[in-house]
Symmetry: C2
Subunit: 305 residues, 2 copies
Amino acid sequence: MDAEFEPFGDRLAAAVVEKQSVVCVGLDPRWEQLPEAWRDGVPAGDLVGQATRTARFCCEVVDAVASSAAVIKPQAAFFEMLGPPGMEALKTVIDHCHRRGLLVILDAKRGDIGSTAEGYARAYLGTHTPWQTDALTINPFLGDDTLRPFVDRAHASGSGLFVLVKTSNPGSGFLQDLVVDGKPVFERVAQCVHDLGSEQIGPRFGWTSIGAVVGATYPEQLAQLRQTMPRTWLLIPGYGAQGGSADDVAGAFDRRGLGAVVNSSRGIIFAYRQSASSHRDWQDAVAQAAETMRRALNAVRPIGS
Amino acid sequence: MDAEFEPFGDRLAAAVVEKQSVVCVGLDPRWEQLPEAWRDGVPAGDLVGQATRTARFCCEVVDAVASSAAVIKPQAAFFEMLGPPGMEALKTVIDHCHRRGLLVILDAKRGDIGSTAEGYARAYLGTHTPWQTDALTINPFLGDDTLRPFVDRAHASGSGLFVLVKTSNPGSGFLQDLVVDGKPVFERVAQCVHDLGSEQIGPRFGWTSIGAVVGATYPEQLAQLRQTMPRTWLLIPGYGAQGGSADDVAGAFDRRGLGAVVNSSRGIIFAYRQSASSHRDWQDAVAQAAETMRRALNAVRPIGS
């Protein structure tokens, strides 16, 4: 197997072990929330100016968290909001993460039927694509057949997926919690994710490359889903700003402390807003927030392997 | 009400009446399927070259179908496949549609939680956004609460949405057909779409701006969903290449011939592949395919209002 194509599941495990961290830093760079100094002199409607500043802000966030984070998760929406220049900015940020040796999960929640799903997969998954992301979040609503092109491309390119299973928002029960034949919809999706992932188990660490998104805000379902998908990486949003705590996610890890990465976005990248004069500048606040999260999570998971 | 903000539901109805057409032309410009003359001289990996040609190809398709189509539906995946230059191409194509007086539904199937959904809405919906699309397809899997930011933005900006309800692919039953309390999931989503749309009924034609995607490949469900959502525009994929016929969609229209637009992508934009020497060039083939579809659909729907 080409080293370049080491399975994503193994590459993520290696990053967690090396960094001693399960922190995923989410990049949600809402323009209006950037530190004022970053927005100064850029007029409303100047998308190129906003995108340029946004890319630099994100790159400096990445620099600040590089020693504490296992993985970076840019949120596509906030780059798409800046039009075509925003998409240039996204590419700049992805490339910067890779230069810093960090894995990138693009949070784009894509999903479509066969040939179009194949198009998204060919856009994002792996080094031989324009965007070169290590993993992509995808949405299963269109059907299990629509996951196949993503899975095939992920397995062939050493990249990964995170399929939405149980999301962190209050209304996630609308479809995900519906019970059919005694089984909630999220369990049905989880079983499918487990089966698809089992087609390729990482030889080094034993985890698959087809992950699942499961919110920290639903600890009971999280514990249940850990059982259904024993070899599946979980991407856990909802920590911090959305209310999830380290204790809420403790059950997501195996005896070596592997199996999940926990995301915080606003709580880290906009940490300067919470800090008073104790932080010299915004980048210190960001670095400290990521490191605090790393330690809080390490306190609840077994470490060492 | 500002003329600019005439509700999308009314604007779509006006386009159908004016054009005497319910044809939606889908732009799925897979690079490898473009006519050979269009690809000549552009090396593999030259994304700027490919994106430039793709934009021109799409604009010439739009010119060819402008008199037969009510609306144009670019598929985001095939632009994202060309990286940042592809996103520039998408913007070029959207602007060209507007110059030709055509409405644009961006088929991007976006969906995310609260503030991120708001980000997507602010990226795409309406004239005061970077992309300026008239409508956007969205995915309801994350929950009914995640539709709200899209709906509010659509209603405030005179733009529209098409929520995935019953998709055209063979595996769409995986989640969409699950029956809970005697009601399939797609019916549950449809009821939600009906309720959300009913918050703003178009004053001219009586249709809402919150539409639904319902595949031509499931005529029974289509008829059923027409009842559940009597004032909801349906965007019907699956016509032509995917197997749906004009008869399959006949039940989607009201007595004035309004209520649905029917999409064909490959069957139109790559029509030159089906045509033998009878067509002088690819653009004639495209124009004729769109006009043939317009007539086939007009033969099965009531016309005149």
